[in-house]
């Protein structure tokens, strides 16, 4: 068996320079993408991104080029560009590596994106818990102004751009596109029905593009290397690398950058993660953060591509791989997940607001050993209703681990029910 290897593209500079030192960043090949971008102009940039086949890394997996194109074609000013650094998904901590380790490349990506869609005002919305990161970015913005990368007429071009660093203030849902936008408008962080999409009516009703940090970090790479070369990385329909956040019951958790399709879930866990903590076999894995469906032991041979993971019955989401070892009960896993999502539902739409509370109640009764047999059917029914009827990604996705656990580990549920004579 070949040893699984990391392919460091986005993380190649992490830890190689002092985060505020722009000269060191240039010496390591930085700003080449931006120079080329300013040469070829907005339309060609968007063409290039489309050609690269880049897919958004924030969880929903929308093609970045298409998003930019639909914002660029709206003839209206102002437009906004937002870098979503509100990394709230459970088991996901990859963006922090880029924000702290190679902030200039993220900034370079933001500038290119804003130039491509014609946005002069940009924001970076940093998760509240990342306090030091937000401080670093405040300093980074003033360094960038000195280097004429931000401000009026950057690098002698006719393009002006401003960046505001905003710290999130708690809610998990603020990482969702529309909730993030309403948070920036100083409203409650709540999702809303689409369409219209933010690219038509976003921040303050103006065309807005929201991209994840990792997506943005790909932009300078694509423009430096040219789209054709970038496309050769990874697999057809899923190009590039991804940062996998590995956590849970593994010996060596961490962020690993892997080329798409370069190995299987099992290799990631057993080779890079060095296996489970207690040496027991793996029981289940969530491959795409806390809202992705559980995969059982049979699916561990699945390749690390969006498609293979989807076909196995889950989703790659934010690529936050959470490992559960043998010995954990599915009921306990769900209890933990639902405790979090129950506290974080924004309450805007009924299916999610009521559904998550009800499901949490049922799982809590299960874990106390007080549940009746028909509770499982209820759990399944409410879960399915939430998936169909919720407004945003959270409500549509949080029941997935529950539904998959009911399929994969029926015994875990039966044993707690049998305890109860009723």
């Amino acid at each position: 068996m070949t040893k699984m290897k990391e392919n460091k593209i986005l993380t190649r500079r992490v830890g190689k320079y002092q985060p505020l030192d722009i000269e060191a960043y240039k010496a390591l090949g930085g700003l080449q993408g931006l120079k080329r971008a300013l040469d070829i102009g907005p339309e060609s940039i968007i063409e290039e991104i489309k050609k690269s086949g880049l897919i958004g890394r924030g969880g929903a997996g929308f093609p970045t080029g298409l998003k930019w194109a639909s914002a660029a074609k709206v003839q209206q000013q102002p437009k906004y560009f937002i870098c979503n650094a509100d990394e709230g998904e459970l088991g996901t901590f990859k963006d922090k590596v880029l924000l702290d380790g190679d902030p200039w490349s993220v900034l370079e990506g933001i500038i290119i994106a804003a130039y491509a869609i014609g946005a002069e005002q940009t924001y970076i919305y940093i998760k509240g818990e990342y306090e030091k990161t937000a401080e670093l970015w405040e300093s980074l913005v003033s360094e960038a102004k000195k280097a004429a990368l931000l401000g009026e007429r950057i690098l002698g071009s006719s393009f002006s751009i401003h960046l505001q660093v905003v710290r999130g203030r708690g809610p998990y849902i603020a990482g969702e596109e529309f909730a993030l936008i309403s948070s920036l408008e100083a409203r409650r962080a709540m999702s809303k029905l689409k369409p219209p999409y933010p690219t038509e009516e976003g921040l303050f009703g103006k065309p807005t593009v929201v991209n994840n940090v990792e997506t943005i970090a790909n932009i300078p790479v694509i423009l430096t290397e040219a789209a054709e070369k970038y496309r050769k990385l990874g697999v057809e329909g899923d190009p590039g690398t991804r940062l996998f956040s590995l956590s849970g019951d593994v010996k060596k958790p961490g962020v690993y950058e892997l080329e798409m399709g370069s190995g299987t879930l099992e290799e990631l866990i057993n080779e890079l993660g060095q296996g489970t903590k207690n040496g027991q076999p793996i029981k289940a894995v969530q491959p795409g953060g806390g809202t992705s469906a559980l995969l059982g032991r049979d699916s561990l041979g699945c390749k690390l591509t969006s498609r293979a993971i989807r076909e196995a019955g889950s989703g790659i989401g934010t690529a936050g791989v959470i490992v559960y070892q043998q010995g954990r009960s599915a009921v306990d896993i769900l209890k933990g997940l639902l405790k979090f999502y129950g506290a974080e539902s924004c309450g805007r739409c009924a299916p999610c607001r009521i559904g998550v509370t009800k499901m949490k109640e049922i799982v809590d009764t299960l874990s106390r050993g007080e549940a009746a047999a028909d509770n499982l059917a209820q759990l399944r029914q409410i879960g399915k209703a939430c998936v169909v009827a919720s407004t945003c990604g959270m409500g549509q996705a949080f029941p997935l681990p529950v539904l998959s656990a009911l399929e994969l580990f029926p015994k875990d549920f039966e044993t707690v029910i049998q305890k109860n004579p009723q």
Binding site: R169, G170, E185, A189
Partner: protein, 80 residues
């Protein structure tokens, strides 16, 4: 955390330039970081400056777990 003084707040606003709806959320955050909470006087003042209803700002603030509406104990106070 500093005790709230209207003067400190006004200096903070001055440093940030004009108050607009575009930087309102950020300003509220800065007030929170400075004093450990967002005083009622601040909400009133920012409502006047942005033309938004006081209730609209207050309502939004209370939905965020990291925004506090009353003074908080310092770590140090707790130890004493």
């Amino acid at each position: 955390m500093k005790q709230f003084k209207m003067q400190t707040y006004q200096n903070l606003i001055k440093r940030s330039g004009v108050v607009t709806r575009e930087n309102l959320f950020n300003l509220l955050g800065k007030v929170q970081d400075e004093f450990g909470y967002v005083p009622r006087e601040v909400v009133r003042d920012l409502a006047l400056k942005t033309g938004l209803a006081e209730a609209r700002i207050y309502g939004a603030l209370t939905s965020y777990s990291d925004f506090k509406m009353i003074p908080q104990l310092d770590d140090q106070d707790e130890r004493e």
